[in-house]
Amino acid sequence: MTSIPTLTTDRLILRAPAPKDVPAFATFYASDAARFVGGPLSEAETWRYQCQVIGHWSMRGYGRWMVTLKDDDAAIGLVGLHNPLDWPEPEVGWYIWSGTGKGYATEAGRAARDYAYDTLGWDTLVSMIVSGNDASVRVATQMGAVRVEDHHHPVHGAMEVYRHPGPQARA
């Protein structure tokens, strides 16, 4: 139903969000773990939000993928290029809700960043991280991004902007 591309890494597949992802996405967004990414959200809100994630691809020409392990199609996270109307610039974002601590966010984040640089031809990227989301900061740091400024978002509140190395310097 969409022409969203699929990316493959050593351990992961990044594919288009699909109706089968609704339960996993809803479980994540109902949990306290979603507090840094706009949650918790109700089941109704999460369903609409998943629609939005898909619609973003059409509206922007890029977007976020559901992340799965190579041998299991169950979604373990949402990672990709995100630029809603009220974002200062396009970001690479990640959240992994299953199998955390194994470097999946970094691996998927790198794949998304590579896609931005190598396929879309972008020359810069940020990650917008809600203040206090230390796990996400660690991922950004591992990818070589550095904190460059603060941003106040009307919904998410205080955010930190991490700028990634460009295409030539990426870590």
């Binding site: 609704v22 369903w47 629609c51 059409s58 020409g61 809603p84 009220d86």
Partner: protein, 220 residues
Amino acid sequence: MITVTGTPTLTTDRLTLRAPHPGDLAAFIAFYATDRSHFTGGPKTLREAWNYFGTQIGHWVMRGYGMFVLTRTGDDTALGIVGHWHPNTWPEREIGWVLFDAADEGQGIAFEAAQACISHAYDTLNWTTAVSYIAAENTASIALAERLGASLDTKATPPPSTIPALVYRHLSPSLISKNPPRRAGQPQAQPSTKGAQGATSTNVSSRASASAGSPTGGAR
């Protein structure tokens, strides 16, 4: 370009109903900035309207059907949205309609579009029933539902909504085929299927005003 693929295009005598694409954003956002949108979940801020447009596109992928952008055949300008809507917490599948601009009312456009959507629901999507959720104060939309042959179903459950909704149940497929509702001089809608696509580009046209469709307050 990333597109939603496989969405049908419906055509009637005067209208073309096609999948939403980014070129429709400005009209959509302008409508949702007005009070005219209050029966259909508005008014919405720019941010909310942008996100909600994304929801409308994504609904097509999540459900395999969704809301069309309503245009006059030969002029791609978005006049409104009409189609098939079923968020996951809603009790039933809905046929909804919205005309952005009051100036487009009174010409049977919403009727013609909604009729095509009812036919599509029954003939192509194989629905066996369909409802429209309408705010009690939305008299224009209630009148349209009744003109389409729908009647108030007091036993049905309305969706969760900030504005209480009435449930209008459309004629069943067998009744539609025996007694198709039509306006004088208007042949029945003839849905046709063509490939459609989302696209990338932005055109600005500003229109606004609600009319019909589903009420559902903040829910939509």
